[in-house]
């Protein structure tokens, strides 16, 4: 729960907002983008997107006047980065023509890019406060994990084969984790309950050790991927906001000032 809290909260917010929107749509028709409710949804979504873009960046640069943990700001950044675009999507009233449609498309691209960025980001080992872990610290953690595993297993731990460093180690880690978890579950299933309980503890330590070894092996690749992602994601976001400001300006001009 705590690991993906921002995603779960964002999902709940989307379900709640989507439910209200659906109820209104069924009773009164789809809220038009130019009407009060549609406008309000769009304005709120844009404010959340602005918050997504600015607040986390400000916190990252406010190291001397730190307010809150970086990981929590990142969670807030991800939450608003999901809910805000969802509100803007509802504001579109499912009409994707002209500049407004282009802005919506760009928003979708930026959001997808954000998900990819988070995936890469989580491959980089960090402290609970969000600080980066260096290779030396990771080696120390590996030694601790091995000692703990020897004590739990009652015999020396046979070191597994060396992990090959590379980009695939970062991007393909989740599928591999899922495959390994499935295999462990199958092997544990054959044991009696007492042996399964003892083996589960050893297995968990083995998993932790494997992850640390993978992080050490992929540390350089993960950092390189994250930098590359920043290079792509930031111009996309900038283009999105510029186009959005054009859209807002046109709306104010043609709808509000030019009655």
């Amino acid at each position: 729960m705590a690991r993906n809290r921002e995603l779960i909260l964002a999902f709940l917010a989307i379900v709640l907002i989507g439910g209200l929107y659906s109820a209104i749509s069924l009773t009164s028709g789809t809220p038009r983008a130019g009407h009060l409710l549609g406008h309000s949804i769009g304005a709120l979504g844009f404010v959340l997107m602005l918050a997504t873009e600015t607040l986390y960046s400000l916190r990252k640069r406010a190291m001397r006047r730190a307010f809150g943990r970086m990981s929590e700001w990142l969670q807030f950044h991800i939450f608003t980065g999901i809910v805000g675009p969802f509100l803007v999507l509802l504001h579109s009233a499912w009409s994707f023509r002209g500049l407004a449609g282009a802005v919506t498309l760009m928003m979708g691209i930026v959001v997808a890019s954000g998900f990819i960025g988070r995936y890469i980001y989580t491959a980089v080992p960090r402290t609970p406060e969000g600080a980066l872990l260096e290779a030396e610290e990771l080696q120390r953690l590996i030694a601790e994990a091995e000692a703990e595993l020897r004590q739990a297993a009652g015999k020396p731990h046979a070191p597994s084969g060396a992990v090959a460093p590379g980009v695939s180690l970062v991007l393909g880690r989740r599928p591999r984790d899922l495959l390994a978890a499935w295999r462990r579950w199958r092997s544990l299933r054959r044991l009696d309950p007492a042996a399964r309980s003892a083996a589960a503890g050893v297995d968990r330590l083995q998993g932790r050790l494997a992850e640390l070894r993978r992080q050490v092996a992929s540390l350089a690749a993960a950092r390189r991927l994250l930098a590359t992602w920043h290079t792509i994601h930031i111009p996309l976001g900038m283009a999105l906001f510029v186009a959005a400001f054009y859209h807002i300006g046109a709306g104010l001009y043609f709808v509000t000032f030019q009655r």
């Binding site: 038009r32 983008a33 130019g34 873009e53 600015t54 960046s57 400000l58 990252k60 640069r61 009409s95 023509r97 002209g98 500049l99 407004a100 282009a102 290079t231 930031i234 111009p235 996309l236 976001g237 900038m238 283009a239 906001f241 510029v242 186009a243 054009y246 859209h247 046109a250 709306g251 001009y253 043609f254 000032f257 030019q258 009655r259």
Partner: protein, 539 residues
């Protein structure tokens, strides 16, 4: 090197600038069409200046959206094309008159909603429809319960109304009722209905001066509102029963026009006439009769109210008692009667009230029955005619024994002790008449003065008692001698024919005094005529 804030990286700024350039270029190249929120309406309408629909202006945003530096509003451009609307603005009788202007066209008229979307949506504007004589109070929804739109009724033009639009909806709602209604009242819905007033769905006939009661609530409207096709005609529908039911009147106009006095609105049959209003209350057996028993041939007026008018054939008295049957008989039945005998001057009192009528009226002869006692009671005369035939002078009607005789009316008033003696003490032998009134006839002369005073008892005695008596006749000797005070017995203790002086005077002394000189001195008065001692002298 200090990291830039957020997007303000070199690549970010470059992307922003490039995006701005691209959007600006696209806006210029498309004449701002990239900002269009949706396609314009494409449905052809009235051709104005070569333009059939707004979609023909899609390539020229400025045709409706004037640049801000020109100082013009969108509404100015609207009215520039739609001059027929501009002409209406000042005339309140027109569609846009008084409510619209160049500043508010877009409140009702929306664009960019699609090629076929409606241009007009008055949902955001409270259009004062009632000023055209028809309120939308009762027309908030159309058949599918969606908010009613202008075109739901104004199918051809917003500036005109075809009344068939009413029928199209209302026939769908209720074909039978609407058809009947239209047949009854005609197709001119607006002649009566204004959408809100009392002829809408809330209208209640019972709130009018003619509530629909009884059978009136079940008949077709046109039965009463025959040919009423306007509000004035509807409201002029007569309210009186007779105005509609004159032909239903079976009374041949004999009972007047106030049907409701007898009939109720439910049915003609269940009439409840308060017959008292006719002056002839239906009581007892009269109330059980059918109307036609009396009102033959439905003759409702002119029926005689006197009993004899209907019952002359039933008169057992053969007219002897006249025609006022009700004088004795009550309406329950002929046998239920009470005769007030007093009205003929002969009150049935006492035992007369207990006697059967035939006791006096033999052979049911009622008239000519004598009223004097003796005519009936001659055989009962205890006095054998001795007191005449005026029985009532003494007897009361209760019984023969209940009588009181006023003796003072006779030649011998009963005074004194006579009043308390029994009648038979004087009237011996049952005879009353001829009883002598002389005292001596009843009272024999007493021994004390037998043969002395004659039979004129009253000369000395009163009727109260024999004593005291007051003798005023000749008496040679002073009656108050020796203080006798008129007490006869002082000197006459045995009989008034003799006397003695020795009740007071000592006989021995008298004897001694007179014996020497007189041989007979028993008659004292002979010598002492005045009772004085010296009356006799020395001789």
């Amino acid at each position: 090197m200090k990291r830039p804030l957020g997007c303000l990286t070199g690549s970010g700024l470059l992307a922003g600038i490039l995006t701005a350039l691209v959007v600006t270029a696209a806006a210029i190249a498309s004449s701002n069409r990239i900002f269009s929120p949706g396609p314009l309406r494409q449905t052809p309408g009235v051709r104005i200046g070569g333009i059939e629909s707004h979609a023909d202006l899609s390539a020229d945003c400025a045709a409706c959206h004037p640049p801000f530096w020109t100082g013009r509003r969108m509404g100015d451009l609207c009215l520039g094309c739609h001059q027929e609307v501009a002409a209406e603005l000042e005339d309140p009788a027109q569609l846009h008159g008084g409510i619209a202007g160049p500043e508010n066209c877009t409140i009702c008229h929306l664009e960019h909603r699609g090629p076929t979307a409606a241009l007009t949506d008055v949902g955001r504007f409270e259009f004062p429809h009632e000023r055209f004589g028809f309120s939308l109070y009762a027309h908030q929804e159309e058949l599918s319960h969606s908010p009613v739109g202008c075109r739901d009724c104004h199918t051809e033009s917003l500036r005109s109304f075809q009344v068939r639009a009413c029928a199209e909806c209302h026939f769908t709602l209720d074909l039978a009722a609407s058809g009947e209604h239209m047949l009854a009242f005609g197709p001119g819905c607006l002649e009566c209905h204004d959408g809100q007033d009392s002829y809408g769905s809330d209208w209640d006939h019972n709130a009018t001066a003619f509530p629909l009661l009884g059978a009136h609530n079940r008949i077709q409207c046109s039965r009463c509102h025959l040919g009423a096709h306007t509000l004035t005609a509807l409201q002029s529908t007569p309210l009186r029963c007779v105005d509609c039911h004159r032909l239903d009147n079976p009374h041949s106009n004999l009972l007047g026009d106030d049907c409701g006095a007898c009939h109720n609105p439910e049915t003609w049959e269940d009439a409840t006439l308060d017959h008292r209003l006719t002056g002839f209350a239906l009581e007892e057996s009269h109330a059980e009769l059918e109307c036609l028993d009396c009102h033959e041939n439905r003759q409702w007026v002119g029926i005689p109210q006197a009993c004899f008018g209907c019952h002359s054939d039933e008169d057992e008295h053969q007219g002897r008692f006249g025609q006022k049957c009700g004088f004795c008989h009550r309406p329950t039945s002929w046998s239920d009667w009470t005769f007030d005998h007093a009205v003929i001057g002969f009150t049935l009192e006492g035992s007369h009230a207990q006697v059967a009528c035939e006791g006096c009226h033999t052979n049911r002869r009622w008239a000519g029955t004598p009223r004097d006692c003796f005519s009936c009671h001659a055989d009962d005369d205890f006095h054998s005619g001795g007191f005449g035939t005026d029985c009532g002078a003494c007897h009361r009607p209760t019984s023969w024994a209940d009588w009181t005789f006023n003796h003072n009316r006779s030649s011998f008033p009963l005074t004194g002790a006579h009043a308390s003696v029994a009648c038979v003490s004087c009237h011996t032998g049952g005879g009353f008449r001829g009883t002598p009134s002389a005292c001596a006839a009843c009272h024999s002369e007493p021994a004390v003065h037998a043969g002395l005073f004659g039979t004129n008892c009253a000369a000395c005695h009163s009727t109260s008692a024999w004593m005291p008596a007051s003798y005023n006749g000749p008496h040679t000797f002073p009656m108050n001698h020796g203080g006798a005070g008129g007490n006869c017995r002082t000197c006459h203790p045995g009989s008034y024919g003799s006397y003695t002086c020795y009740a007071c005077h000592d006989q021995g002394e008298i004897t001694n005094k007179h014996s020497e000189r007189f041989s007979d001195f028993s008659n004292c008065v002979a010598c002492h005529a005045s009772g004085q001692e010296g009356d006799g002298g020395e001789d």
